[in-house]
């Protein structure tokens, strides 16, 4: 899922200052699961903004709404009337959701209420960790299902760097070294030989190196 974090209330107040009628719009998909922008967070953030508004005499009028998916036009339609009757939208969707809302309502200011962080999973209660950098050219088949692009701080493709020790990463000593995990995994599945191959430089063009990415599926175009 896409994992995001809430911006702080002072940051949101800075963003919204000068506006009156504000729609706080949640998303029922990824950001609900990672406890950043679902119905519950819409309620909490709206309450906090109302308190801040009173404290700073900002006269915010806040409406709350959560739709199933902000990145999908079918669901965005459900927000049409609420968007219309407010001056601005504070989207608690991911970066894709914020932009989808902004594209659908070109005359309405749409602000991001979250910092979209990464594609990851819930590792344990209260801890989400990145697992995929969406590089556009997956190499997981070669590394025992553990991604060196995401889980090595240097995206090393040929083995660990010198900062790998005792299963820890030098850059984040609270996290395991991705390369130690790859080594252990390949060893346990009898594929350690894969590490002996010198992997050539990666083609980053399918990643951010090629600009804004688009996938066209001719078989789905009418």
């Amino acid at each position: 899922m896409i994992v995001a974090e809430r911006k702080t209330i002072p940051e949101l107040v800075d963003i919204l200052e000068g506006h009156k009628k504000i729609l706080v719009l949640g998303c029922g998909t990824c950001v609900t699961v990672c406890l950043a922008g679902g119905e519950r967070e819409v309620s909490i953030i709206s309450s906090a903004l109302r308190i801040a508004s009173r404290a700073k005499n900002l006269s915010f009028e806040i409406e709350e709404l959560t739709i199933e998916r902000q990145c999908d036009n079918v669901f965005i339609e459900e927000a049409a009337k609420a968007v219309e009757r407010n001056d601005v939208v504070l989207s608690l969707g991911c970066g894709a959701g914020v932009q989808a809302i902004a594209e659908r309502y070109p005359a309405k200011p749409v602000y991001a209420g979250l910092n979209t962080s990464f594609i990851g999973i819930l590792e344990e209660r209260g801890i989400w960790a990145e697992k995929c950098a969406a590089c556009g050219a997956c190499v997981l088949d070669q590394y025992g299902g553990i991604c060196p692009v995401t889980r090595c701080a240097k995206h090393m493709l040929n083995g660990p760097c010198g900062g790998s020790r005792e299963d820890r990463c030098e850059v984040r000593p609270d996290r395991p070294c991705g390369w130690q995990l790859i080594y252990q995994r390949l060893k346990s599945i009898g594929q350690l030989d894969r590490l002996k191959r010198i992997v050539p430089p990666k083609n980053w063009a399918p990643s951010l190196g090629g600009g804004c990415r688009v996938i066209v599926r001719e078989d789905h175009r009418i």
Binding site: L157, G159, G162, G163, S164, E170, V171, Y183, P201
Partner: protein
């Protein structure tokens, strides 16, 4: 013409090699580099110029050129942290055109561990891919994108290794890949745990790695037990045994500790000289180049 460096000739001749490291400053005063070079004396075959290990300093390319001008042979360090393959290959062409003949390929300290943790990194290629790229440029005269290189590119290719990195199997696998990719000399991280280094070296010998590359063992004089503890706690690639720290503590005041640090370093070098598979030493000083000259002077006694 494959190589054109004194370091390459010394490796080929089987001489015991001494290299040292120069840490440029955040400075435009070339005199500082020249002073550091002159303090090294004649016992050094080549001098590494560090590539921004802790944040922006005078560039390793510029520092290497100062050395060339002063008649000293540089080992031009390139980390893959800050430049993509376009910039690195471009710098390599320029370096070679201006007389640099030794290149050391490494990934470099992650920027999060430098004074500029907020900067973005590049890591377009890793250290092994850099080694292979330099070898391709030299042996096939083509850049990574297939463009032909005009003129010779006679550089000696070096890489680094951390003997203390565990597990040993993964460590040696990585070392073997570096040598297979083209590393003709390996400078190791500073060695303090000599027994662990011997175990690492034995594995390297068993896999015939020492026959295909020149291992230059890293040594570093410690100034005192506090420095030793700081290095141990902050650098995962350094392993400093408690026995060394105790020895420094017992030495006495700061002056005595510094002297003991030098003694430990000299003892380590003498042991290294006897080891099968060690072709020389690489003197690290963390920017205290004067300490290198003390070691050289003591070795020559």
């Amino acid at each position: 013409m494959k190589h054109d460096s004194r370091l390459a000739k010394k490796i080929a001749a089987g001489d015991f090699i001494v290299t040292a490291e120069l840490l440029p400053q955040a400075s435009t005063a070339i005199l500082e580099i020249e002073a550091a070079i002159s303090s090294f004396g004649n016992g050094i075959t080549a001098v590494n110029v560090a590539d921004n290990p802790h944040g922006p300093l005078l560039s390793s390319l510029a520092g290497s050129l100062v050395l060339v001008k002063a008649g000293m042979e540089p080992v031009y360090q390139i980390v893959t942290r800050d430049r993509n393959r376009i910039a690195i290959q471009s710098d390599l062409l320029g370096a070679c055109a201006l007389g640099i003949r030794n290149v050391l390929c490494l990934s470099g300290h992650h920027q999060a561990l430098t004074g500029s943790p907020e900067s973005a990194n590049v890591y377009d290629i890793d250290s092994i891919q850099l080694i292979a790229a330099v070898k391709q440029m030299r042996d096939q005269h083509v850049l990574l994108d297939g463009t032909a290189i005009k003129g010779d590119f006679p550089v000696l290719i070096g890489a680094v290794a951390g003997p203390d990195m565990k597990p040993l199997e993964l460590n040696i696998l990585r070392l073997a890949k570096k040598v297979e990719a083209g590393a003709e000399f390996i400078q190791t991280q500073a060695v303090f745990d000599v027994e662990a280094f011997e175990r690492w070296l034995e594995q390297a010998r068993n896999q015939k790695i020492t026959e295909n590359t020149a291992i230059l063992a890293g040594v570093m004089p410690l100034s005192g037990y506090q420095e030793a503890e700081t290095l141990r706690d902050h650098y995962m690639d350094l392993s400093i045994p408690d026995s060394i720290i105790e020895r420094l503590k017992k030495a006495g005041d700061k002056g005595a500790q510094k002297k003991e640090g030098l003694n430990i370093c000299l003892e380590t070098i003498r042991k290294m000289k006897k080891m099968d598979g060690v072709k020389g030493i690489h003197l690290l000083s963390g920017g205290k180049e004067k300490r290198v000259s003390e070691i050289i002077a003591s070795l020559e006694k």
